[in-house]
Symmetry: C2
Subunit: 331 residues, 2 copies
């Protein structure tokens, strides 16, 4: 498997390696006729300049690391799409890293990221903690965090304020006399759930009450559905149930149907993270349109700014908004 190398080009054009390198890297110290000769040799041989050697010459790898949780959710996919579209515009390559569980894993990834000397890093990970982030910032690589608000000198963040979202929505419910609001635990997204819970607590406090509707799912239950089937037997129905992901909302919908609870007339249901599956459910599930694609796109754009001279003027904390999409599961 012999590939055409820079040596072959140098031989063909009868010039030195340094000259070929200069032509490839756009140096202007090469004479025009030499440049043409090298270009002709490159075309004749079908030589593709090695982006890595090029990167070293320019002191730039034009690569960023993207760290996401295991890529299985529709939501993550949209974030990646947004990020890649912007990366293409600015000619950045994406090195993909995924996280599963536990700190060791994350440390391995950080080690890898640092070794590969990328220009910057974008992290979307609900379970990322401050300590891990600090480890990354030690190396002074520009970082953009998606989803969490945690900015400092070298860290930017692009996020949706879930606490505000939950607080506003709960205030609206309370105004309409719906005070029995439940939030269902989501083990896979503890940080998001904490934000939602904080927002609900704030809204209740503002109305002279205390939020007590957080429903934990005991570890022994394999799924929200199986737990909720038991839960409804001994607990009164709520006015409004809030879930984070579509699959939990569907579990609530299925249990309600099986237990003869009419949604939305007996109980309302809202899914925070909207997805196409919410519209396919019957009744269709109301949700919040979170700008997933935009989170990725804006994060990448912010990183490109941090990597260039725009760094000084850049606002490193960007909050994106959301839209409530009422469907059949709310009145």
């Amino acid at each position: 498997m012999k590939r055409i190398t820079i040596y072959d080009v140098a031989k063909e054009a009868d010039v030195s390696l340094a000259t070929v390198s200069r032509v490839i890297n756009g140096s202007d110290v090469v004479r025009e006729d030499t440049r043409v000769k090298v270009q002709e040799a490159i075309e004749k041989l079908g030589y593709k300049p090695n982006a890595i050697a090029q990167g070293l010459a320019l002191q730039k790898t034009t690569t960023i690391a993207l760290i996401v949780p295991e890529a299985s959710y529709f939501y993550t996919g949209q974030i990646i799409n947004g990020l890649i579209d912007v990366a293409k515009i600015y000619k950045y390559n994406i090195m993909l890293h995924t996280t599963t569980e536990g700190i060791t894993e994350m440390n391995d990834i950080i080690e890898n990221v640092i070794k590969s000397r990328v220009d910057g890093v974008v992290i979307f990970n609900d379970k990322l903690n401050k300590e891990e982030l600090n480890q990354l910032t030690t190396y002074q690589i520009p970082i953009v965090v998606i989803g969490n608000r945690m900015s400092d000198e070298t860290v930017g963040s692009v996020y949706v304020d879930y606490a505000k979202l939950a607080c506003d929505y709960a205030n609206e419910c309370i105004r309409n006399g719906k005070t029995d609001i439940a939030l269902i635990e989501d083990r896979k997204n503890p940080a998001m759930i904490k934000q939602l819970r904080d927002g609900l607590s704030r809204a209740f406090k503002e109305n002279g009450m205390e939020f007590s509707g957080y429903i934990e799912i005991p570890k022994e239950y394999r799924s929200s559905y199986l737990f909720l089937k038991e839960y409804v037997k001994t607990n009164p129905r709520k006015d409004v149930v809030i879930t984070y992901r579509d699959s939990q909302a569907m579990a609530v919908l299925n249990v309600a149907k099986e237990e003869g609870v009419d949604i939305p007339n007996d109980m309302e249901l809202v899914c925070i993270l909207d997805s196409k599956y919410n519209s396919m459910a019957r009744p269709q599930i109301s949700g919040f349109k979170i700008p997933d694609y935009d989170l990725g796109a804006v994060a990448m754009r912010l990183l490109t700014k941090m990597l260039t001279d725009e760094n000084d003027v850049v606002d490193k904390e960007i909050e994106l908004s959301y839209i409530f999409t009422p469907r059949q599961s709310t009145k």
Copy 2:
């Protein structure tokens, strides 16, 4: 943003750059006391060897390119998970590229992939054509294609035989007297649908009949659901409806419910590509468990073999099997 470089290490250890480079790359021509001195300097300064410079020294980037369609489907996510898990074991980095639509796009990506001089390429793209693949093989980079059976000297493939799957299933249906079988078009996955259609045609032919149940979705319809709502009004119901993706199966389910067609008693429904949403639907949708994670994992393992001495003995065409998971939408 000053980073610690190899120059700083050389200065700290009072040795030449070449010596530091030799220590980093594990050369054995370095004296033990010098090696210790360099190691101490590396640790003191917190220097991380540059994987790119290291790669050049070893003539190896240890990076592979992964080309997938826009990462929005649950299925793609699982393929990526499998691939990355194996890549981690073999210490490969993943450079992520996504495709949207049209040939220009694909050519751009090929250009990028070639320029970055990766060790190998894994492609999962239903719309990849032979011409594009040929362009990649020109550069003699080992390639593994997921989903399509298209192997040659430098190309391996890992796939599920959808034609066989459809043929076997249709034969089973026909044996049970269910001959009115429909397959619904999926514009996003033309190659998969073609395989399924071929398999159905084969089964019908084997039984002395002709398959005529392919349902095209006219371009003017924004969704399968909207089209099927019209379609059912003027067409008799089928014995069995087959869809490729879960969202199309849900469209069939919703239309059937709204039109008073009882699934599975009046009509059966099967979704080829199973997903967790199929179990959340009511009735639960029967499907085929396609080994998505395994497709990614096996493809990556095959590529690691092609990249090493194992290349000569390796079987470049690997067929993975599937399991039918009957649920409530079939009898």
